[in-house]
């Protein structure tokens, strides 16, 4: 190995790629809030839920938002997989003994890539089930719209689907709890005055988002099941 003696392009460097993963991750964190909060309408009434869903998908800007979201998701996924592959190859022989004691790291921190893959499978199934799922119709105030509420109740009446949903959300919890603080560290934000607040915020964000999402299938399964 020689000295390469050159400067590095941002997106060809490991640091730059990590920063891209961090920025796209933060973008996706924003999306999760925008997805979770309005969906809480399901706890109030089918009509509010369906009207919100109709307003969302009938807005022409939805296509731009969807493209943006897809880019965020693919950017996060592709660069994270590339980096994970590079990381895997950086150690060609494995240790015989795992670290233990105070030098050991948490399992949840070491398996971010695996958590990401579970979330990927979840997202694909989630889109197939809901976005591209059965199209029921309902009419409110003379406007015909998709009865998404009916589909949601139908799906969440299946105990197996509820269990899978809960498991996937727990994985998401660990991913978000580490990911939020990790993104900030990667972007260079680490300061003794703010580190405690960042840690608390990561926990709070993960608890609120995952707690919100969890409440929906559990509420439907326990109280709305036909």
């Amino acid at each position: 190995m020689q000295n390469v003696s050159r400067k590095m392009g941002w997106l060809t460097s490991s640091v730059g790629r990590k920063q891209l993963i961090g920025v796209t991750g933060l973008g996706l964190c924003g999306f999760l809030v925008a997805h979770m909060a309005p969906n809480m309408l399901i706890l109030f009434s089918a009509e509010m839920y369906n009207k919100y869903s109709h307003a969302l998908i009938s807005n022409p800007l939805i296509y731009a938002a969807e493209v943006g979201l897809l880019l965020l998701f693919l950017g996060h996924l592709v660069f994270a997989l590339r980096l994970s592959w590079m990381n895997w190859r950086a150690r060609d022989t494995r240790y015989a003994v795992m670290s233990n004691g105070p030098k050991r790291t948490a399992w949840a921190q070491r398996s971010l890539w695996a958590q990401g893959l579970v979330i990927l499978v979840f997202v694909i199934l989630h889109l197939i089930t809901f976005k591209y799922g059965t199209h029921y119709s309902v009419t409110y105030d003379g406007v015909e719209m998709r009865d998404l509420h009916k589909l949601v109740v139908e799906v969440f009446s299946e105990p197996a689907y509820v269990i899978w949903y809960v498991v996937a959300l727990f994985v998401l919890f660990f991913h978000l709890r580490h990911g939020l603080g990790s993104s900030l560290q990667t972007l260079g934000i680490n300061h003794p005055r703010y580190n405690c607040a960042i840690k608390v915020a990561s926990w709070a964000y993960a608890v609120i988002v995952v707690g919100g999402f969890l409440s929906q299938p559990i509420y439907v399964y326990l109280l709305q099941r036909g």
Binding site: Y95, V97, K103
Partner: protein, 254 residues
């Protein structure tokens, strides 16, 4: 002097004849180990026994044996520099183990730290990272009068704590990605915090990260294993500093 009753330890030591050879564990007992011995002195005893019986001694790196040079390495029961925090292998004492303990001793494992022989690995990748930018080009001459160059006390302390990195490579050994981010960032941060380091600050971080990547180290995933294993407790704040300097330099450099 009264006869001290030593401990007996069951060792599994990684033996590998050369870089391309297949390695395997040697099972051997270390006898009459006195608790006050350092871990390396325990290996010296093992080696003396091997030599006495006409076998080849186990190769391992060491130099100052007082915790400041960064030459000693070893992964002891899965932990770089052993189970004690903020300790180098040479400063790890056998009183931390019990009579009859099993100890697995492996080399630092990373593609960028190829095994030379047994427990000795080639850490020259760190030298090349340092050579890529971890210096100040201008001739600094003799030491200046104190306070000629104003350095705030807080910055001096931070720079000093980064500069305590002894370059042993435990961070790479501990990291699941064999990432050299903690080492590189300590060297970047050390000079970035001092006035003398400002002129080449952008170029330094860009070149050192380039060399770090070219050497084949993995990327940082913020698990903190490096800092936990570091014998001088280099903080993760250094990595954040390198990350933000790299981002800023990527945008600004010409």
């Amino acid at each position: 002097m009264a006869e001290q009753k030593g401990m007996t330890l069951n060792l599994k030591i990684w033996r590998q004849a050369g870089p391309k050879e297949k390695g395997e564990f040697l099972k051997i007992q270390a006898k009459n180990i006195i608790p006050d011995m350092s871990f390396l002195e325990m290996l010296d005893v093992v080696n003396e026994e091997l030599v006495r019986t006409g076998k080849e001694p186990v190769e391992f790196d060491h130099d100052c044996r007082e915790g400041i040079c960064g030459a000693c390495s070893l992964v002891i029961n899965g932990n770089p520099h052993g189970p004690e925090v903020a300790t180098t292998t040479c400063q790890l004492h056998m009183r931390k183990f019990k009579d009859g303990d099993s100890i697995v001793i492996e080399p630092f494992r990373a593609k960028s730290f190829p095994i030379v022989k047994d427990l000795v690995v080639d850490r020259s990748a760190f030298d090349r990272i340092q050579q890529a930018g971890g210096f100040i080009t201008a001739n600094t001459g003799a030491a200046q009068d104190a306070n000629c160059i104003p350095v705030p006390k807080k910055n001096a302390d931070l720079a000093f704590s980064s500069a305590t990195c002894i370059g042993c490579g435990a961070c790479v050994a501990a990291c699941k990605n064999a990432s050299a981010s903690l080492f590189t960032s300590a060297k970047v941060a050390h000079l970035a915090l001092l006035p003398q380091g400002q002129a080449e600050r952008e170029e330094r971080v860009l070149k050192m990260v380039a060399q770090m990547d070219a050497e084949g180290f993995g990327g940082c995933t913020n698990t903190g294993a490096c800092s936990a294993a570091c014998p001088v407790e280099i903080s993760l704040e250094n990595i954040a500093r390198m990350n933000r300097d790299f981002l800023a330099a990527s945008i600004k450099h010409r």
